[in-house]
């Protein structure tokens, strides 16, 4: 994908999310100027970025939303339910369209029509013909800032489009300021993140002959990328001579901050942004550790030098052990620090759920609130990324199947507004996420009936199952208990996909229900996914993974150096006789003797002895995420787990020592 477009999509999603968060907050607390400002800025910035692409309907839509927000900001216009509804509709359409652009490179065909309708809806709420007049008037005396900004855009577009607000400074030093010891340009030198500097004469210059060098006749204007308070601090002793104006960020196409485009367009996974935002402190920690590692490496070099000198009486074992201990510690710390860099707060996915719930509820005619807790808990990016979709599905199910229609709830003596609770907690390195609703719960009898109808389980087994086991059937592929197929659930991913996703992360998912009171889906997950180094090898026409940890070395042994020993074979490696087995034989597969002159051998340690394992081919070394064995293969000797390869095929990872032993 075009790099620029890619960054636009990443940013657009963030901005839409930001605006949604703000609007949700405004729905709860209508007169929050910060939230209103923030929503306006997000929409304003997004609209600007959209202008870089041929996405006019999206631009039109956002323009309308921006006008409404601007009016609310300028005139104190109340964002009532209708206005919020219209804005939410705009954001929802924007999000869908950005998704379409990401997937297909273009807006859906009906976008122009939809945009017109939505924009018209928004504009109908703007009852005054030109609602943002007030805002314009209040900005009239800020023309100087506009001029500065335009100039910056011409001279340094990257700085102008940094995506951050800019603080405009207009400093008119008093004519006698030099006598007070002021050096106005000296102050400008101290302005943090100075982006532009302009100097002009306040009054026309007198003829050179009558020029007074000690009367300051300058007006200094500047832009800074630093926040207003930081800039103002520089001018604290001349507050009467300086004015500031904070300009909203120019739409940022993210070009300036784009990571290096060195990677080819085809490298890496095709979908999804690969950017991770990392707290600076964690990067610092990494840098520190790398520094220490270099020092340790240099110390090792000294040791190598010393080893080269003959006749020195040195305790090599002790010295090497000490060095090993240091490097071992650093490697461990470095690993932990890298894992830490990959840790993201659950907030990254949780924050969009309030809107998801609101939208799904609205579509089904149900009023549903979402309470979220534990969003500060962190987990590995892999876990976070993989959880988003299953959680959305669980939330959908809860609203669609769990929550009763309002009138049913009233009859049951419940509040007509349903509550879904999304709760995350952490125990050691396990993460627990629960989604609870206060709906009707799951009726085991109904599950039994449906399971029987759909022949999900054999009738005799079904009869023998406890109610708890029965509930677990909702995770069975193809199972759906919904009486009516809605456009939300009952299609696409089912609860079986949720279970598959959670288990692929090394987690478990279960469901609890109290009929009449609600349902809880509970996921138990690791907070981090350990990457395992394996080597893939081919033997007997099949590819397997072998843990790198268990391999001492790989070797190519000439066929004529392999001799029969007892009932087996062996070869000599560095004066040591090493027994040789073929991997295919270990796996009870066909052993095809290749005609190659050299036999490829993995030397592995079994107990304390090296053993050679012949393979047909070494393929690759890789870092993979291991899934533990489940089902009938769980506990199979010699199988550690599986991993999904890039092409989607499953690779079995072997514990060779156990296979031999």
């Amino acid at each position: 994908m075009d790099d620029l477009l890619h960054h636009f999509i990443v940013e657009a999603k963030e901005l839409i999310q930001q605006a949604s968060d703000d609007l949700l907050a405004l729905e709860r607390r209508p007169f929050d100027p910060h939230r209103l400002d923030s929503a306006f800025r997000a929409v304003h910035t997004l609209k600007g970025s959209v202008g870089l692409f041929d996405l006019k309907p999206l631009g039109d839509l956002l323009h309308a939303a921006e006008d409404l927000l601007a009016a609310a900001r300028a005139d104190g216009l109340d964002l009532d339910a209708a206005a919020l509804g219209a804005l939410f509709a705009c954001l929802e359409a924007s999000e869908r369209w950005v998704g379409a652009v990401e997937a297909n490179g273009d807006l859906p065909p009906d976008a122009p029509e939809k945009a017109d309708a939505l924009a018209a809806g928004v504009r109908s709420l703007l009852d005054t013909p030109n609602p943002s007049l007030a805002a314009v008037a209040s900005r009239a005396d800020a023309a100087w800032a506009d001029a500065l900004f335009d100039a910056l855009r011409g001279s340094d577009p990257a700085a102008a489009a940094s995506g951050r607000p800019l603080t405009a400074i207009r400093y008119e030093p008093r004519p006698d300021c030099f006598f007070s010891g002021d050096d106005p340009l000296g102050l400008m030198r101290s302005v943090p993140e100075l982006a532009a500097l302009k100097v002009s004469a306040r009054d026309p210059w007198p003829p050179a002959g009558s020029f007074d060098p000690f009367a300051c006749n300058l007006v200094i204007e500047a832009l800074s990328g630093a926040p207003h308070p930081d800039v103002a601090a520089v001018f604290r002793f001349v507050p009467d001579q300086v004015r500031f104006l904070v300009r909203d960020a120019e739409p940022a196409p993210a070009v300036a901050s784009a990571p290096s485009g060195a990677q080819g367009p085809d490298s890496g996974p095709p979908a999804g942004p690969r950017t991770v935002r990392v707290e600076a402190g964690r990067i610092d920690r990494l840098a520190d550790l790398v520094g220490e590692l270099i020092v340790a490496k240099n110390a090792l070099a000294h040791l190598v030098d010393a080893a080269g000198r003959v006749g020195e009486d040195v305790d090599w074992t002790g010295k090497l052990a000490a060095h090993h201990a240091v490097i071992d510690r650093l490697a461990g710390d470095l690993h932990a620090a890298v894992v830490d860099v990959r840790m993201l707060p659950l907030r990254d996915i949780f924050r969009r759920f309030p809107r998801t719930v609101r939208e799904i509820g609205a579509r089904l005619g149900k009023t549903v609130g979402l309470t979220v807790s534990g969003e500060d808990i962190e987990a590995d990016k892999t876990v976070i990324d993989a959880l988003s979709e299953p959680l959305v599905h669980v939330l959908r199910n809860a609203i669609d199947h769990g929550v009763e229609p309002g009138e049913v709830r009233l009859e049951a003596g419940k509040s007509p507004e349903a509550t879904i609770t999304l709760r995350a907690s952490r125990f050691g390195n396990r993460l627990s996420i629960e989604v609870s609703d206060d709906g009707r719960g799951i009726d085991p009898a109904r599950i039994r009936r449906v399971a029987a109808e759909r022949a999900v389980v054999a009738p005799d087994r079904l009869a023998a199952m406890s109610d708890d086991d029965i509930l677990d059937l909702v995770f069975t592929p193809g199972f759906s208990t919904s009486g009516s197929v809605t456009d939300l659930s009952g299609r696409g991913v089912g609860m079986d996909a949720v279970r598959a996703a959670v288990e692929s992360l090394g987690g478990r998912v279960s469901v609890l229900s109290r009929p009449g009171h609600g349902t809880t889906v509970k996921m138990d997950l690791p907070t981090s996914v350990v990457m395992t180094q394996i080597m893939s090898v081919e033997a007997g026409g099949r590819v397997h993974g072998v843990l790198m940890d268990s391999i001492i070395e790989t070797a190519a042994i000439r066929r004529d150096r392999i001799a029969p020993v007892g009932s087996g074979r062996a070869f000599v490696l560095r004066n040591r006789t090493v027994p040789l087995v073929h991997l295919s034989a270990l796996l009870d597969g066909p052993e095809r003797d290749s005609l190659a002159q050299d036999v490829k051998v993995l030397v592995v340690r079994v107990g304390s002895e090296p053993v050679g394992v012949a393979v047909d081919r070494f393929i690759d070394r890789m870092d993979v995420m291991m899934r533990p064995m489940t089902g009938i293969l769980a506990g199979a000797p010699g199988l550690i787990g599986t991993t999904i390869q890039g092409d989607g095929s499953v690779l079995m990872v072997l514990d060779i020592a156990e296979l031999i032993g």
């Binding site: 002021d182 050096d183 106005p184 340009l185 500097l197 302009k198 050179a208 060098p213």
Partner: protein, 77 residues
Amino acid sequence: MSVRLEAEVVHLEGDCGVEDAEPLLVLLQADRFRTVDLDRVDRLHTAVFQVLFALRPPLQGQSPDLFVRERLLPILS
């Protein structure tokens, strides 16, 4: 001395403080087309800058100071 005339070129050097504005002005009033050399300027007080800004003498040289070179000289050129 921060202001020095040498072979009809006015050299500004080091820290040019507020007190350097007047000698600079005098030198430029005597001959508006004297070149001012900024090769060794570290700091340029606003008053000195103002003289250059108002009288616009020909300039030469690049100050070693980043702020002077990148921010102030472009305004004068």
